[in-house]
Symmetry: C2
DNA sequence: CTGACTGCAAACGTTTTGCACGGTA
DNA sequence: TACCGTGCAAAACGTTTGCAGTCAG
């Protein structure tokens, strides 16, 4: 567990217990949406307000401490900002994972073809994760 | 202008005037959000209801006739479903453009590294479009 | 001690729903 | 003619705001 306090200070945010636990929860889960975050927080702070969760998500997202991850047909999830990466989304179990790959080639190609000056490349791969592939195989074997 | 009527029939949807114009508008604009679509429709159908727009967007999105385009910090925009492509988004003027590039290489790399069976690769490039680059240069030249 | 943060309640904006009428096939 | 689609109004949902009290620095 990293030194969130110092990081928050850098963003002029106070290290309240609610906020500390929010960050901890986001790091543990990797990616989480507002509802699930709120539910987790309720276990520790029964009187926490949804408004507080929103206010903190917003303040931490605005200054770049957190990032939004938007995927079609899915509620927005949040993650700690980290070095550039892509996302893997399992359309079967909804798992969302980071993957670190080199985007340089495809980015260069797009820049060349379009004339855009590209500052960021967002990639989400949708498919079936290894675990779900296994499960599907077991099922199709059973039903033979 | 393509034969929307036949396409709609394939999806068991009736070709109402409202729906036909929605599709036409989406094709013209390329990508559009609910609000702007509603405003355009009002010009032709002054009594059209927002509920109708939502209902049609939903029915046409569910069966794949339309696709959602979600970009961080932006309202969801809709486009006609078409062959796989990526998106270019200008963070200066908010233009959203299609770009047809080969995603095979980066997709293969991700599949190999992760073990996922990848069915779709969503890519959005964020940057500055050629027009805005020009404008910026003119400004910086003027103020020299 | 002071300003930022919290919880609560109300406000606000967006999306969905139910219903009676009208239009497409 | 039979339903699906429309418009309207209300409901439901998600998010933001204002305020008074509390806590971190």
């Amino acid at each position: 567990m990293k030194d969130y306090k110092t990081q928050l200070k850098r963003y002029d945010l106070k290290a309240t217990p609610q906020r500390m636990f929010m960050i901890n929860e986001i790091e543990q889960k990797g990616h989480i949406d507002i509802d699930n975050l709120y539910k987790s927080l309720k276990n520790i702070f029964p009187y926490i307000s949804l408004a507080t969760v929103y206010k903190n998500i917003n303040s931490m997202t605005q200054n770049g401490f957190l990032s939004e991850v938007k995927i079609p047909k899915l509620k927005t999830r949040y993650e700690l900002s980290k070095e550039k990466h892509a996302h893997l989304f399992c359309t079967n179990c909804s798992e969302l994972k980071d993957i670190f790959i080199d985007k340089q080639l495809v980015t260069n190609k797009a820049a060349e073809k379009s004339g855009y000056k590209i500052n960021d490349t967002l990639i989400t791969f949708e498919g079936i994760c290894p675990k779900c592939q296994e499960k599907n195989n077991m099922v199709s074997t059973e039903t033979k």
